[in-house]
Each structure stands twice: as C-alpha cells, then as structure tokens.
Amino acid sequence: MIDVTLRKNGARTRALPTRGRILQRLRRNDAIYRNVTRGAAIGVLVLLGGVIVALIDGSMPAWRAFGFGFLASERWNPVTENFGALAPIYGTVVTALIAMVIAVPIGLLISVFLTELCPTWLKRPVGTAIELLAGIPSIIFGIWGLFVFAPFLQGTLQPFLITVFGNVPVLSSLFAGPPYGIGVLTASLILAIMVLPFITSISRDVFEQVQAVLKEAAYGIGCTTWEVVWNVVIPYTRVGIIGGIMLGLGRALGETMAVTFVIGNAHKISASLLAPGTTISAAIANEFTEAVGDLYTASLIALGLILFVITFFVLAISRYMLARIERRIG
C-alpha cells in the first residue's frame, strides 16, 4: 500500500513537467483545430460574399453604360453593343411560373397519394424512385427535350392549341404563330417535369410530419380522406408546402441546361407561348464564350447578378418558411 503510494507520488513528481507539456500541447492542438474549423465556416460566408462581389465587379461596365435602364430594355444587339435584360428576365419568370403552375398541383397530389392512399409496401419504392429522379442531371432533360419532346409537341400539342384557341380572344394571342416545337411553352413543360420530384419529396416529407392523432381525430368524426387532407393536413403544413414550392421555384428560375436546349434563344418578348424566347441562364450559357468585347461580357455577368439576386430572395423565403414549420413541429 505504502509502496504503491510512494511509487505513485514518485511517478507524479517525475512526470509532472512532461505531463504539463502534454496537456499544453493538447490544449494548443484543440485551439488550433477549433480555429481551423471556424476558419472553414467563415470561408463559406466568404464564398457567398465573393460570388456577390465578383458578379458586381464584373458587371460594372454594363451598369455604368446602361444604368438601371438595363433592367427595362428589351434590346439585345451585340453588333451595336446595346444590351437590355428585360427579355431574359421575362423569359425566366414566365417559364418558372408556368412550370410551377403545372408541377405544384401534380406534386401535391402525388404526395397525397404517397401519404394517404399508397399501400405500405409500395411507399418506399415509389418514394425512393422519386428521390433518385430528383438527382438526374438536368442535361438529360435537355437532350430529351430537344430530340424527343420538342418534335412531339410540334406534331401534336402545339397545332392542337393553335386550332382550339385560334378564335378565343385572349388565348389566341397566347397560342399564336407556327408550331416551332422549341419555345417558351416547351421549356416550361420540361422545367415542370424537372421540379416535380423536388416538390413531391418535400411536400411528402412535410405531410408525414402531421401527427397521426390529428388525422385520426378527423377520420373519427367521419371525414373522408380528401376532407382530412384538405381541412387538416394542408392547413397544418401550409408553411412547409410554401417553403417547398419556393425551393422548387428557386430551382426552376436558375435551371440552365434543360432550358437552353429548347427555348430557342431569341431576345424578344412575344405574347405567344409558342414563340422562342430566352431566359437569363440560357442566354449566359449560349453566349458567354462567344461574347466579344467587355460590354457584352459585362452585360451577361449583369444578367447573372440579376438571377442571383432573384433566386437569393426566393431561397431565403423558402428557408425561412421551412425553418418555421420545423420549429413548430420539432
């Protein structure tokens, strides 16, 4: 016993300097690791800051030359170096909105099916399939749109729309002109197919967060499945659904490859949805490497800045909404 104590004491006195040094080293290493990770986290902030600064800096010549008139002008003439962003902005917003109008109801209905109707054994395969499809690169949708979907529309849907709505006052101008195949409508439809998996998987996730008790109570007083969905599930998850929709909208606004193939890249605003148009991302993808002269390049970067600002706000709203529903339920 005494021996042990002695040995212990002896060991301690002898080891004390080394032990102190080891502890010091460990403490220093910890501080270093802490600061390295902190630096990486700050690096993420710097990245976003860098994107914004680089875009503003690169687009400066365009803003100096055209001022805020850049946002309101439809002209796009590389020869006379006269540029305006209105046509791409219009195309971006219109294609994204049409895509959402189509994809949101379908996506919500699919989530209703998955959460309320689907037999359990089918739930996982269908859910997984939809999540996998969300990961398919957009260029696949683009190439399919160009070679399969656009010729198909040219032969079927577009002539149909033209003849059916040809004599209806407002709609006739909406569906006017020859069926090119490519154009705003085709791009919107492809975008709709692309964002469908996103909207479906997010709305399914928020639908599943509804407590079973709430639904059971509604079923218990004799509600039909649809009444449970309409009066309990959707009101309860409203914020989350809006968040998911905004996230899909963010994707649709910034989508490049799927649109570039089929939009036709025409810098003009036509009333007809069948006419070719352009979007911000399609214009950049098509023209950037061919842009000659500082003003042309700067104008395209200015388009990129506008796109970034639009998506920033849409995504910020989406995150805010999704965070709100998580806080309420979680």
Binding site: T37, A41, G135, P137, I140, M257, F288, L307, L315
Partner: protein, 280 residues
C-alpha cells in the same frame, strides 16, 4: 342529408382518383424519359466509347477524353471541397453549435446549396479564368468544388448532430480534449453518414454542365494538363447534342446514358450506406 353525404363521397373519390392518376403520370413520365435515354444510349454503346477519342464530324470515335477529363475534374473538385466542407460542418455541429456564426453560416450554406450553378461558373470565370487569361481544367475543378462544399457542410453537420451527446460527455470525462473527441469519436460514429454526403456531392457534380462551360471549356484532344482547357462529359454532350451531325448526336445520347448510370449508382450506394440513419 343523403345528397350531402353522396356529394362528399363523390368529391373524395374524384380527388383520390386524381392523386392516383397524378402519381401514374408523374412517375410514368420520368420513367419514360429514362426509357428513351436507355434506348437511344444503348444504340451507340460499345467498347469503343471508352477507348477512343471524340471524333471529328462524320467519323467514328468514342468519349475517352471527356470521360478522363470528367474524372480528373471531379476528383480534384472533391479533393478541394470535401476538407473545407467537413471542417465547416464540424464547427457548426461541435464547437459553435449555438453561436451566431453557425446560424448565419447555416443560412448562407442553404442558399449556396440551391444557388444556380451557372452563377458559380460566372464567379470562377471572374476570379480565375479572367485573371489567368485562359480557360483551364483547374478552374473547372474549383467551380465544382464550390458546389461540393455546401453539400458536404450540410450532411456533415446533420450527421454529427445525430451522434449522441453522451458519447462526447463520456469521452470528455476521461479528460480527452475536444479536438480528439471530435476526431476519434464523433467522426468515427458519423463516418458512414459523412461519406454519404461526399458521394451525394459527387453525384451532384458529375452531371453539372453550366459551371464548366466557361471555366474548363472543352477540348477536342486528350489532355491531362490542368492549366489548359479540358474536355468533360457534360460539356461534350452539350456541344454534340446541339450539332447538326448524326454521329455526334448519337455519342451525346451515349454520354448522357453513361452520366445517368454513374449518378444513379452513386446515389444508390450513398442511400445504402446511410440506410440505418435518417437521411437529411
């Protein structure tokens, strides 16, 4: 009373039928696209695709140089992006879990996660291509790394947060410093999940086209020089699909099939790895 009941019943049946149809149409549509892709892609698939260079119009050839280029760019992007992403995710889940910095970074990271990838291309063009004076494979890799970082940050943070605090406390009670607790215990416990994040990031960038268009550009020839323009599969698909030549269009379909199979395989492996855990 009974008419009201019948009306409610009818509405229910209509809406449920619609949701069933929506599922059929939605899933069927996507399956249709994949079907066309497989059909068209298989037609041009042969060993030659993996052993020969991209041809001039009208000649036979393969996709060797873009495949190699894509592999190099992707590997480099992951090598650059993963450490940064893991470190930043570590800070947010471990050291600064409740700090204001983490809240801000989390928000910014979510924005970067869904930011349009073409904007990333413009950013790298501004900070790398323009100052260097030429397009390069390296610039392409950095552009993709910018896309990798937010994906890895997000999964790392989520996975580390799933590690029970008791494990950290038990280790801390033994007197192990924080940095070692994180590295030897948390990383080990969350390892599979973090790997999933990296795989998802690879799946995400292997199909990205927009950021490569004006960073790595494209290259007709075989090149492993990081300082020169480099071919990549998505960029070649873009170029070939929009060309008027039938051979090139056929190769574009085949390339598209190769990418899709790679992306789906990566996603499935990632999913299998993360199966026991909850996916973010």
């Amino acid at each position: 009373m009974s008419t009201l009941y019948r009306r409610r019943k009818r509405r229910d049946v209509i809406m449920m039928t619609l949701s069933f149809l929506a599922t059929i149409v939605g899933v069927g549509w996507l399956v249709l696209i994949l079907g066309v892709l497989v059909w068209e892609g298989l037609a041009g698939l042969s060993l030659r695709v993996f052993t020969e260079m991209t041809p001039p119009p009208g000649a036979d050839g393969g996709l060797l140089n873009p495949i190699i280029g894509s592999l190099i760019i992707t590997a480099l992007a992951v090598a650059i992006g993963t450490p940064v992403g893991i470190l930043a995710g570590t800070y947010m889940a471990e050291y600064g879990r409740h700090s204001r910095l983490s809240t801000v970074v989390r928000f910014v990271n979510d924005i970067l996660l869904s930011a349009p990838s073409i904007v990333v291309g413009l950013f790298i063009y501004e900070v790398m291509v323009a100052p260097m004076g030429h397009f390069s494979g390296l610039a392409g890799a950095v552009a993709l790394a910018v896309i990798v970082i937010p994906v890895v940050v997000r999964t790392t943070e989520d996975m580390l947060r799933l590690v029970p605090d008791q494990m950290r406390e038990a280790a801390a009670a033994l007197g192990i410093p924080r940095a070692n607790v994180i590295r030897s215990i948390c990383y080990r416990a969350a390892g599979a999940g973090m790997l999933t994040g990296v795989l998802l990031a690879i799946a995400r960038i292997s199909g990205e086209t927009a950021p490569l268009l004006f960073t790595a550009l494209n290259n007709q020839f075989f090149s492993t020089d990081l300082n020169a323009p480099m071919a990549s599969l998505p960029a070649v698909i873009f170029q070939f699909a929009l060309s008027p030549y039938k051979d090139w269009q056929k190769l574009a379909w085949t390339g598209a099939l190769v990418i899709t199979v790679a992306v789906l395989a990566l996603s499935i492996v990632a999913r299998a790895l993360a199966a026991p855990r909850k996916m973010p």
